[in-house]
């Protein structure tokens, strides 16, 4: 449980810092800011992570396992991410949720889904279909919420009178550290 949360946290940290510092990676328009970007990515995560997990599970179960190709699990999962994310990109553009623009969106997304998907799949060796889906959906919801919360927090800190040397990345790291501390409270909740 804590291990999973830490993986989510690191993923969120990377995403937010990327959104804040690499505007060219932002997949959205001006009025939407760090939080706006986080919101789109959160929505995408909610859809993409379960889909990736599901496809990964099916692939592992019905293709890789019968042919004894377990060693291909990670590259196969990355490939699945690369299939799912652009398709989602197309779908979102069609629904006018994002502007048709830079390639950053797919990049940020694939980093996230890949990270999480790999974490999930390593966690789920031998899990049944139901458990796999449950954990995938739970992880996606947790990731989405965390991402939104962290982005909102990060935005609130933008105008704070933070000592100069701690601005930006150091502060994000300290914040993530305190968050990790808070998540220690969950230790022992689920026997790992």
């Amino acid at each position: 449980m804590v291990a999973l949360l830490m993986v989510l946290l690191s993923s969120v940290l990377v995403t937010t810092v990327v959104l804040a510092h690499m505007p060219q990676w932002r997949p959205f328009v001006a009025p939407t800011d760090i939080f706006g970007g986080a919101r789109i990515i959160a929505i995408v995560c909610l859809v993409a992570v379960p889909v990736v997990a599901l496809l990964g599970w099916l692939l592992a179960r019905f293709v890789l396992a019968p042919w004894h190709l377990e060693y291909l699990r990670t590259p196969a999962l990355v490939a699945i991410v690369l299939i799912v994310v652009p398709l989602l990109d197309v779908a979102l553009r069609h629904r006018h949720a994002i502007l048709p623009q830079q390639p950053g969106f797919a990049l940020v997304m694939s980093t996230n889904t890949a990270l999480l998907g790999i974490a999930l799949i390593t966690d789920l060796r031998g899990a049944t279909f139901g458990v796999a889906i449950l954990v995938a959906v739970g992880g996606a919801v947790a990731l989405a919420l965390l991402l939104l919360a962290f982005a909102a927090l990060y935005e609130r800190l933008q105008h704070a009178d933070v000592p100069v040397v701690f601005r930006e990345a150091p502060l994000a790291l300290v914040t993530a550290g305190i968050m990790a501390l808070a998540f220690m409270g969950f230790s022992g909740l689920i026997q790992e």
Binding site: P31, D33, Q158, H159, D161
Partner: protein, 484 residues
Amino acid sequence: MAKPGVRGGLRLDAHKERSTAQALRAASPAKTLVLPLDQHAGAPAVPLIKPGERVLCGQPIAEPGGTVSAWLHSPASGTIAAIEPRPAPHRLGAPSLSIVVANDGRDERHAESARAAFDQLSPEQLRELIARGGIVGLGGAVFPTAAKLNSALRVQDLRLLINGAECEPYISCDDMLMRERARDIVFGARVLLHALTAQSCVVAIEDDTPQAAAALEAAIADAHDGRIQLRRVASIYPAGGERQLITAIFDVEVPSGALPADVNTVCLNVGTAAAVAHWIRDAQPLTSRIVTVTGDGVLEQRNLDVPLGTPLAALIYDCGGYTSRMSRLIMGGSMMGQSLPHDDMPVIKATNCIIAASALDLQPRAAEMPCIRCGNCSEVCPAVLLPQQLHWYAAARDLDALEMYGLADCIECGCCDYVCPSQIPLAECFRDMKPALNERLAARSSADAARARFEARTARLERIESEQLAALAKKRQELTKKSS
């Protein structure tokens, strides 16, 4: 949550009994009267007279300088001493072009032509007549009344709201007016109903003014006019704010950026209604108004009927002069009034109250501390804004966020400021940020308008070109036909 209703606000110490203890009296005439030409909202008025000319009391001395502007009348008989820039209270002491009348004290009245009873006139004629009386909103916004009536007429089924809810502390001029001249208010309301062809009128007052309520009830009963009714609202500042009052009385909210007319309402101050009555019934244009002189810094705290243009110094002298504790001169109430740098300025149409404040009236501000996000400000905000967020983004000059959090809807009532434990001057901070935001909104709308004109022009040029091409082709065809 979506249900409209008055939210926020504060119960404040009213400090009104100090100035309502004594009856209304006329102020002693001043020797010189100073009348700024831009004392109303809209375009400045244009003088009709030259320096040295003799004028009579009530004679028009300046005419409207635009569609939204107002007439100006001489408050006394005498000669025009000058037309020159003089310090003006609405500009916080900065000079503004003014007509200076030297009062000869003879009080000769300008003869108005006899006129028919108001219900003999058509609404259009009546509105035109109201405009000629120089009547503007006397609640403080000084918007020309006739312009307000005319612009409201684009809406059907108007209802009239006469605002007697004088919510701001210290001010009692409307309370005094309602006590002593309730009949004028009711008469004015009937005139305005006719001018608007409206069918109902609510006179709204606060529930802590029993004498005014009794006087108005009697006057309404005497008028035998079933269209007019009296309604009381809780005396929670800012109950008398136009939008807040409309919500309290009619249970609708005025949409952001819209006018009361958009919810079928015309809201006018009781003083405005009384001024309309004086003009239409008694042929007295707006040359004087009731002013509350109060505060611990003046000897005699009371309400006076003051000719416009009377210097504040003369008015204070009339009330016994300053006390030794006098420290701050405020035009308006203690929440929204403006602090004036000196008293060599005239009473204008917007002057409802002069507070000569001493340290006993003022609460010294403690040192400003950072916001601790206690949220008291958002609880009292009548516009349901989040002042703590606005302050946060105003400090960072983040116009995007200020727009999103609704700075444009701030009514600058000062409630947030009043309750802030960190003693942050929030109202001032918002007043400072508003021009930048307005400039940005204006730039956006003018860009939109320019785009529309450009597109219209492009379309027109294309159409003309295609028409010319078509005509050319037609001609060529005819020529070939002829030659063949």
